[in-house]
């Protein structure tokens, strides 16, 4: 579904990703795991076309999207939940969601579905995004991406700074998306959170591929994780 084929990219002249490859299947949760600064967020920006590819290509359903203008990438069905939420702060909950709906002409039934997943947003519907609590903001960032009816979902540290019940809510949504056949690429720092949802785990080290393992293997042998996180 979503494929990164030996991509290289970076900022200015500084290369961050080198020959980085990944592939996420429909109905699968792939966790991207690595230290701070390893290039996880950079990989997501590269998928979204927000950073130009220096080499390699990104494919969605077999279609190369690396050369498309950035705004056309999400139209292929990619929902992005960025690190730090990045909501349209001065706009209301409703307007943030409208922008998500507009991207791929989703109908009102999509909005209803999404609001059923996050009933809190319905109560805060006319409130400005910047006035929401941190947890509510994360819900909104997630809901905004789901409004696109994504075929692939990119989540960059969605549980950062959230309390356990909120983390559980996000986890349930991720699992539900997977069961609906969405390809999920999840960046997550907390090992237990990763192991409880992931189907496979891909390690990234200094912008290069590390091992790719099944979550089962990792659950069986924790030393593998420790080697990459290096606690």
């Amino acid at each position: 579904m979503l494929e990164l084929d030996a991509i290289g990219t970076g900022y200015g002249k500084a290369q961050v990703l080198r020959d980085f490859s990944l592939s996420v299947n429909a109905g699968e949760i792939l966790c991207l795991f690595g230290r701070n600064g390893a290039g996880k967020t950079t990989a997501m920006k590269a998928i979204m076309g927000l950073l130009p590819l220096w080499s390699g290509d990104v494919r969605i359903d077999g279609e190369a999207v690396g050369a498309l203008p950035a705004h056309q990438v999400p139209l292929r069905g990619i929902g992005y939940i960025p690190q730090g939420r990045r909501l349209f702060t001065e706009l209301t909950v409703a307007q943030n969601l409208e922008i998500g709906l507009r991207a791929r002409n989703s109908g009102p039934e999509v909005l209803d579905e999404v609001l059923d997943l996050f009933p809190r947003l319905r109560e805060r519907y006319r409130q400005r995004a910047e006035t929401l609590s941190g947890g509510e903001q994360q819900m909104l960032a997630t809901a905004r991406a789901l409004c696109l009816r994504p075929k692939a979902l990119l989540l960059d540290e969605p549980t950062e700074g959230l309390q356990p019940s909120m983390i559980e809510a996000i986890r349930q949504v991720i699992l539900r998306m997977r069961d609906q056949g969405v390809a999920v690429l999840l960046v997550e720092q907390r090992v237990d959170a990763v192991l409880s949802v992931a189907d496979r785990v891909a390690f990234i080290e200094n912008g290069r591929n590390g091992e790719i393992l099944s979550a089962e293997a990792l659950r069986a042998d924790h030393t593998l994780v420790d080697r990459y996180v290096g606690i």
Partner: protein, 308 residues
């Protein structure tokens, strides 16, 4: 004339300045707010609006109202199209880099100005107002029988000047409605708030930018069409509107539309009043001084809420 009527006259003149300035400066504020581009060529779009208004009006015969109405529609459209083209051919290629766009718009300023000099020439030319009744204004005075009205000599305005103020109010309300009530306004605000996220949600940011740059220039052109029956079109007429617009945008809080409009009213009125009682130059000096003070003590602008 006594002080009272004199002050009323100055206030009315100031209100016309304020109306035109509010339109021009909103264009500049819109471009800076959404695109973070400091458009030094903004005054030339104003000038082009006036020159095109003269050109259109002089090619359309019949009553002045026809030529003026045609200019009111055509000048902003033509200027907006020129600006959008400049955005797509120049600014886009510079990746909207803040410093390089300043240099590029300075270049654009001279190109537009010199091209106008070569084609339109150095003369100042008038456009006839569509209507222009003189309206005498009353003032109050004490008489033996109590409070009475009288019509001091020289205290008057014209129906056209009042119409300019009315038109500016209508257009500004329209811009406000566009930004807050329409789909395209929503996309503009989303682009302003977070360009990368706008892209990540499929908003064609480049097209939004071209539209905003065109709209900003069209507002300046519209302001110029409104003022040209009072002021005459000239190829150097863009300087003052540019200076005053910058003053207003800085005082108003860099890109905030309501702040810009409040600042335009404030600067326009004081400019009118000081110009009538003292001199136009003093008015400009004081306004520039005010900007310096604002930049030192309140960089977010008098009406701005946060640092830009």
């Amino acid at each position: 004339m006594e002080l009272g009527p004199y002050l009323l006259l100055a206030t009315l003149e100031g209100a016309v300045t304020a109306a035109v300035l509010a339109l021009t400066a909103s264009g500049l504020a819109l471009v800076f707010g959404v695109m973070r581009v400091v458009n030094v060529a903004h005054g030339e779009f104003f000038m082009l609006g006036a020159v095109i208004a003269w050109w259109v009006a002089s090619h359309i015969g019949g009553a002045p109202v026809w030529g003026f109405t045609a200019a009111l529609v055509l000048a902003p459209l033509i200027v907006g199209a020129i600006a959008a083209a400049a955005d797509m051919t120049v600014l886009k290629r510079l990746d909207y880099d803040p410093e390089r766009t300043i240099v590029a718009t300075i270049g654009l300023l001279y190109i537009l100005q010199q091209a106008t000099l070569m084609t339109y020439g150095p003369d100042a030319r008038p456009v006839e107002p569509p209507f222009n009744q003189r309206l005498a204004l009353p003032w109050i005075e004490w008489t033996e029988t109590g409070l009475g009205l009288y019509w001091p000599w020289g205290l008057s305005t014209t129906s056209y000047k009042l119409a300019v103020i009315g038109a500016a109010v209508v257009v500004l309300l329209g811009i406000w409605a566009l930004m807050t009530r329409t789909r395209i306004g929503l996309l503009m605000r989303a682009t302003q708030l977070d360009r990368d996220m706008a892209l990540a949600f499929g908003i064609p940011v480049e097209r939004v930018y071209a539209l905003v740059f065109g709209l900003g220039a069209a507002l300046a052109a519209l302001a110029a069409v409104l003022i040209v029956p009072i002021q005459q079109a000239h190829y150097l007429m863009g300087h003052d509107p540019l200076l005053l617009s910058f003053i207003v945008v800085i005082i108003g809080g860099l890109g905030s539309l309501p702040g810009t409009i409040l600042a335009a009213i404030f600067i326009g009125l004081t400019d009118g009043i000081i110009s009538v009682f003292f001199s136009p130059t003093l008015a400009k000096i004081l306004a520039t001084l005010l900007v310096a003070l604002v930049l030192v003590f309140r960089p977010q602008g008098l009406f701005g809420t946060r640092a830009a």
